[in-house]
């Protein structure tokens, strides 16, 4: 696991984009106090999911309405079809640690990191 950010960097119901890893990931703090980490780039088109809307355990892409489950990464409906990767998160003494998924990321066409 690697340290990604501090809990104090996160705002409830919002995401931040973390570019210190490749491809960038998005880290969210839910209103229940849970921290989730997924790939930040929507699988449909180049958009930062950290800028999306967090509700009911899903993040809605800020562009085109597809919603991704923060637990499974699955997309609910078009235009996105492929899931985002979900990364394992541990919070320890106010620091957020992430173990990056070993799966291949589903980056949208034309996006290369």
């Amino acid at each position: 696991m690697q340290r990604i950010c501090s809990l104090s960097d996160l705002t409830e119901d919002e995401g931040i984009r973390v570019e210190s890893v490749t491809p960038p990931i998005a880290v969210f703090l839910t209103s229940e106090g849970q921290v989730h980490a997924i790939d930040d780039t929507c699988t449909h088109q180049n958009a930062s999911l950290a800028e999306g809307w967090l509700e009911d355990g899903c993040i809605e892409c800020p562009l085109h309405d597809s919603r991704f489950s923060l637990r499974t990464g699955a997309a609910d409906a078009p235009p996105a079809k492929l899931p985002v990767r979900v990364h394992r998160v541990r919070v320890d003494e106010g620091e957020v640690y992430v173990e990056l998924s070993s799966e291949a990321p589903n980056l949208p066409p034309g996006v290369v990191y």
């Binding site: 800028e51 409906a77 078009p78 079809k81 034309g110």
Partner: protein
């Protein structure tokens, strides 16, 4: 309930089928499509697909491994509807009865030359090539015409025209000229948004001709098309003409059905998308109360509601999202949400017009926020959309 027949295999038809399955409907689903393709996503036709960045397979709306158990009847447009009998009719005389019928035939682009009304060719290959943009085939034909050095004339400064203009430039067009009926592109979104969009395009080299109402094709001395002709006599010449003059609901086939249609031809529905007992409509071909059609998110939302209404007619959605649309032009993301009447006060609340990244909020004369427009302002736009949802009205029971 044994059979739902869906007419139209686009976003609304596909979403209806998918939502029916997601909500537990286990009866038969037949999807009738005029085009021969399985459901595909049209917004990319003027953008990444036209640019050649994605292929036809990537346009598919279906997810790999998805099992919707749908009887696809493609390349067979419905030609008539018996409303009381809940039966679809086809050109070969065959019929398809169903317990519930969902009309989701979408819209068709307005053409510069109505093929039925004129012998003027509306096909590539003779003089300037003339294009509309609504299907995979249209996009393929346009891409073939957009060779480097092409002189492109775009009739209409709406979203499809502006997106195609941007893509044409990226593909190496020598010039792109947009004929804009008003004084600026996307005029209905107000002067600041128009100015920002115009700046975005002009900085890349797109030229606008304003006050330019397109009357028809322009023709050279040889009689072949060489651009467009404006209603004031001006001409804009080019080798490729892209017609982006809006679209009309694809409902002519319902003329004898007795279903009420608006003056534009959209099927009149109630707030649950019901047009008649057992007959529903969703997407560009439908006119729900208070909604204006022609937008992707609306088609998807209406299709979901129709499917849920078929399965559980008494459950209304919790809230409604404000109407929402987006457009990608020169790599910039334009988003708009809400409704405009034209008397709003517009304020710039983030970004700048010069940098083409404004976040604009529209307030009615009472000071109520009614709409927002952003260019490359995804986070603010998402927040605005989500904090301006309205509770949906409770739903009346199905009429017997």
């Amino acid at each position: 309930m044994a059979r739902v027949a869906i007419v139209g295999a686009g976003l609304a038809g596909y979403t209806t089928a998918r939502t029916l399955r997601d909500t537990g409907y286990d009866g038969e689903i037949v999807v009738v499509g005029a085009e021969s393709h399985r459901p595909y996503d049209r917004p990319a036709l003027s953008k990444s697909y036209l640019a050649g960045e994605i292929d036809a397979a990537e346009l598919s709306l279906e997810t790999a491994g998805e099992r919707l158990d749908v009887d696809w009847r493609l390349g067979t447009p419905a030609t008539g509807l018996d409303v009381p009998g809940r039966t679809l009719e086809f050109a070969d005389g065959s019929t398809l009865p169903a317990d519930e019928i969902v009309l989701a035939t979408g819209s068709a682009p307005r053409r510069l030359v109505e093929p039925a009304a004129s012998a003027e060719p509306d096909v590539p290959g003779r003089g300037a090539s003339v294009h509309v943009l609504d299907t995979i085939e249209h996009a393929d034909a346009l891409r073939a015409a957009l060779v480097p050095g092409a002189a492109v004339v775009v009739a209409g400064a709406g979203f499809v025209g502006l997106e195609a203009a941007a893509t044409a430039l990226a593909l190496g067009a020598a010039s792109v000229t947009v004929a804009c009926a008003g004084s600026a592109p996307l005029g209905r979104f107000g002067a600041p948004a128009s100015a920002a969009v115009r700046t975005l395009h002009e900085r890349r080299g797109v030229r606008f001709v304003t006050g330019a109402r397109v009357a028809g094709l322009g023709r050279g001395a040889d009689g072949l098309p060489n651009g467009v002709r404006l209603d004031d006599g001006r001409r804009i010449e080019g080798s490729v003409v892209i017609v982006g003059l809006g679209s009309v609901p694809d409902t002519a086939w319902l003329a004898g059905s007795g279903l009420a249609r608006t003056q534009h031809g959209a099927i009149v529905c109630d707030e649950a998308g019901r047009a008649a007992p057992g007959i529903h409509a969703a997407g560009d071909c439908a006119a729900w109360p208070g909604s204006y059609g022609g937008h992707w998110t609306l088609a998807q939302e209406q299709a979901r509601e129709v499917a849920r209404d078929i399965v559980t007619p008494t459950i209304a959605p919790e809230f409604r999202n404000p109407p929402y649309l987006w457009s990608d032009q020169h790599g910039a993301r334009l988003q708009f949400a809400g409704r405009l009447r034209g008397d709003e006060r517009i304020s710039l609340e983030a970004g700048s017009l010069d940098d083409s990244d404004p976040f604009l909020v529209y307030r009615d004369p009472q000071g109520v926020e009614v709409a927002a427009l952003g260019i490359d302002q995804g986070r603010l736009m998402t927040r605005w959309r989500k904090t301006h949802r309205t509770p949906a009205a409770p739903r009346a029971a199905v009429a017997a």
